[in-house]
C-alpha cells in the first residue's frame, strides 16, 4: 500500500498512477497548469472538439486546474475488454428507447460556482440578524404568542385525545432526534398532559435509536409532574423500520423480543397484556421529525388499524404529510413550531420559544433576501453581471 504523493490517498504498490486523483504515483513537482483543451487532448490522446449537444460542453474550463498526465492503463493480456453479448443487447435497447436529445438547457453557468461567497462583512451581518432573531423574545416577551390562531390539527388532536377510553392504552412513538427536541418536546408534553387528563395508559416506543432516551426523558418529566407509575410504560427500541412496524402491528412481543424494558413494561402496564400488537391500541400518537418515518407509520400501521393515528411533526415535514391529513388517514397533524406554543407558555422554565422569534426569523431572512437583491454592488460584481 503506497500513498499518492499528490492527494495522499492509498493505492496498491503496483499502481502506476493514483486511482483517486489520476496523477502519476511518481512524486514529481507539479507542472504548470495546462489549458483545459490541452488537458482533454492529453487525456484523450487526441484533440476532439466537444460535441455541440453535449450539455457539459464548455465546462472543460471547470475541470481541475491540475495537469492530468495521459492515463497509463495497466497492460491487459486480452487488450481492451470486449463487451459481452448481454452488454451489446443492452446497448442496442438503450439506443432504441432513448429519444434524440431535445435542445438541453445550457450547462450550469460557471459564475454560479466561480462567484465568491458573501464577503466576511456581509456574512457577519447576516449572522447577527439570525442571532438577533433568536434573542428577540428576551425583549419582546412573547407578545404574539396568544394572538396566533391555533393550527387546525391542534383542535383535532385535542378531540381525539379526549375521545379515548381508559381500557385501551395509547401508543406514543417517540421517533425524533435531539435536533428536533427543541421543536417537538413542548408539543409532546402538551399531548401527554391531555392524555393524563383522559386517564389513559401511555405506552412509549421508538423506532429510531435516538428516540429511546428522549422517551425516557419524557417519562421522567411525567414522574416529576407526579403522574402515577402505572399510567405509562416504555417498550424501548423497535428495529427493522417498515418490517419491524409490520411485525409489531400484530405481535409486539415478537417484534421486541425480551428487550430490557419490555419485561418491566409488561408489569408496569397490565393493559399491554390485552393488546398483543399495535393494532389493538386505543390510538397511536407519533412524534417525529422525519416525514419518511411518519409515512411508514401511516402505511404500515394507520392503514391496518381502526385506532386513530395522530402525528406531531416538525414544520419542515408537515407539507409531506398534508395529503394524509386531508384524506383522514391521519386524524390530527400538528407541526411542532406553532403547535407547541400553547404548551410551552405553560412550562415554568424560561425559554426563548415564542411566536415573536418566528416573526424575527422572517424579518432576518427577508432582510437578507432584500439586501442581496437591492444592496449596492461593488465594481467587480457589476462587471461580473
Amino acid at each position: 500500500m503506497t500513498l499518492c504523493p499528490h492527494c495522499k490517498k492509498p493505492n496498491r504498490d503496483e499502481a502506476t498512477r493514483c486511482i483517486w486523483c489520476g496523477q502519476s504515483m511518481a512524486a514529481t513537482p507539479a507542472e504548470p497548469p495546462a489549458t483545459p483543451t490541452n488537458r482533454v487532448q492529453d487525456a484523450a490522446g487526441e484533440r476532439r472538439p466537444p460535441p455541440t449537444d453535449d450539455p457539459l460542453a464548455g465546462l472543460e474550463g471547470l475541470l481541475p486546474a491540475v495537469p492530468i498526465p495521459p492515463a497509463p492503463r495497466p497492460a491487459r493480456a486480452d487488450g481492451e475488454p470486449q463487451p459481452d453479448e448481454r452488454e451489446i443487447r443492452d446497448a442496442e435497447l438503450l439506443r432504441a428507447i432513448a429519444i434524440e436529445p431535445p435542445p438541453l438547457e445550457p450547462p450550469r453557468p460557471p459564475r454560479m460556482v466561480a462567484q465568491p461567497l458573501p464577503p466576511l462583512r456581509v456574512r457577519w451581518m447576516l449572522y447577527v440578524l439570525v442571532i438577533a432573531a433568536v434573542l428577540i423574545p428576551l425583549i419582546s416577551g412573547g407578545q404574539l404568542d396568544g394572538l396566533i390562531r391555533p393550527l387546525p390539527g391542534q383542535a383535532a388532536l385535542a378531540e381525539s385525545l379526549a375521545d379515548l377510553v381508559p381500557e385501551k392504552p395509547v401508543l406514543v412513538a417517540v421517533d425524533y432526534g435531539p435536533s428536533a427536541a427543541a421543536e417537538l418536546d413542548a408539543a409532546l408534553n402538551g399531548a401527554l398532559v391531555q392524555l393524563e387528563g383522559a386517564s389513559v395508559q401511555a405506552v412509549f416506543l421508538s423506532t429510531r435509536p435516538e428516540g429511546v432516551d428522549l422517551a425516557r426523558q419524557a417519562l421522567s418529566r411525567l414522574e416529576e409532574a407526579g403522574t402515577p407509575p402505572g399510567a405509562y410504560c416504555h417498550l424501548g427500541y423497535l428495529a427493522g423500520d417498515a418490517a419491524g412496524l409490520r411485525l409489531a402491528l400484530t405481535s409486539l412481543s415478537a417484534a421486541l423480543g425480551r428487550a430490557p424494558e419490555a419485561g418491566a413494561a409488561q408489569e408496569a402496564c397490565p393493559a399491554l397484556l390485552h393488546a398483543s400488537g399495535i393494532g389493538e391500541m386505543g390510538a397511536v400518537l407519533v412524534i417525529t421529525d422525519d416525514g419518511h418515518v411518519a409515512r411508514r407509520w401511516v402505511e404500515q400501521v394507520g392503514a391496518r388499524t381502526d385506532a386513530p393515528l395522530l402525528i406531531i411533526t416538525t414544520a419542515a415535514s408537515e407539507p409531506l404529510l398534508a395529503p394524509y391529513a386531508a384524506s383522514g388517514q391521519v386524524r390530527a397533524l400538528v407541526s411542532g413550531a406553532y403547535g407547541g406554543l400553547s404548551a410551552a407558555s405553560q412550562d415554568p422554565r424560561r425559554t426563548l420559544y415564542s411566536a415573536d422569534g418566528f416573526v424575527a426569523l422572517w424579518a432576518a431572512l427577508a432582510g437578507g433576501f432584500a439586501w442581496g437583491l437591492f444592496g449596492r454592488r461593488d465594481k467587480t460584481e457589476r462587471l461580473k453581471r
Binding site: E183, R221, E224, A239, A303, L352, L361
Partner: protein
Amino acid sequence: MNVVLPEGSLAQTLGLWVAALLTLGVLSYLVGDNPVFRLTQYLFVGVSAGYAAALAWTYVLAPRLAELIRDPGSAWPQAIALALGALMLTRAWKPLSPLARLPLALLLGVGAAVAIGGALRGTLVPQVAASMVSVAPVDYGGGLRGWAYALDAATLLAATIAVLAAYQYHAADRTGPAPLRRVASLLGKGGRAIITIVMAALLAGAALSFYSALRGQFDFLLFGLLGGRGL
C-alpha cells in the same frame, strides 16, 4: 436541550459544561472551518454510530441470543435469524463473501414486499379515494360558500393530476395523438409549477425547524447553563 439527571450531581454539572463547550465548538464554524469544529464533527459521527450499534445489540440481538440459549428448542426462528446475521458478517472476508448474499436477499425480498404492501394499502388506494371528490357546489351547501368549496375541490383535483402527469415516462412528443400530447405537456408544465409551491412550503418549514433547533441550544446556554442549573 432537556436535562433531567440528578440535579446538581457532579456528572450533571460536568455534562452541562461539556455540552456547552461542544455547542460552542460547533458554532465556531461561523468564524470559518477550524480544527475544533472538525473535532466535533468526528466526535458526533463516532458517538452516533456507537449509540445506534449499542441499541441494535441491546434491544435486538442480545435478547434473542439469550432466548436461544435459554430455550433452544422453541427459539428456532431466532436461531435462523442469528445464523443469517452471522452469514451477513462474512461479507468482510472475501472467500466467504458470497454467503452474505443469502441474508441480503431475504432482507431485500421482505423489504420490497412490505414497501409494496404499504404503498398500495397506505398511499395508493386511500389517496386515490381522497381525490374522488364532488365538484358540484350543491354538495357543499350551495351558494357562494358552496361554489368556493367546489372550486377548491376542482383545484385540488386538477393540481394532483397535473403533478402526476409531470412524471410520465413515455416521451410526450412521440406517443399519442397531437391534441393529447399537447394536453399532457401542458399538464406537465402545470405540475412542475405546483411542485415549486411544495418546495417553497418545505423551505419555509425547514427555516422554522432550523431556527427551532438553534433556539433550543440558545435556551440551553442561557437558561439551562447560565440559569444556574449547571453551577
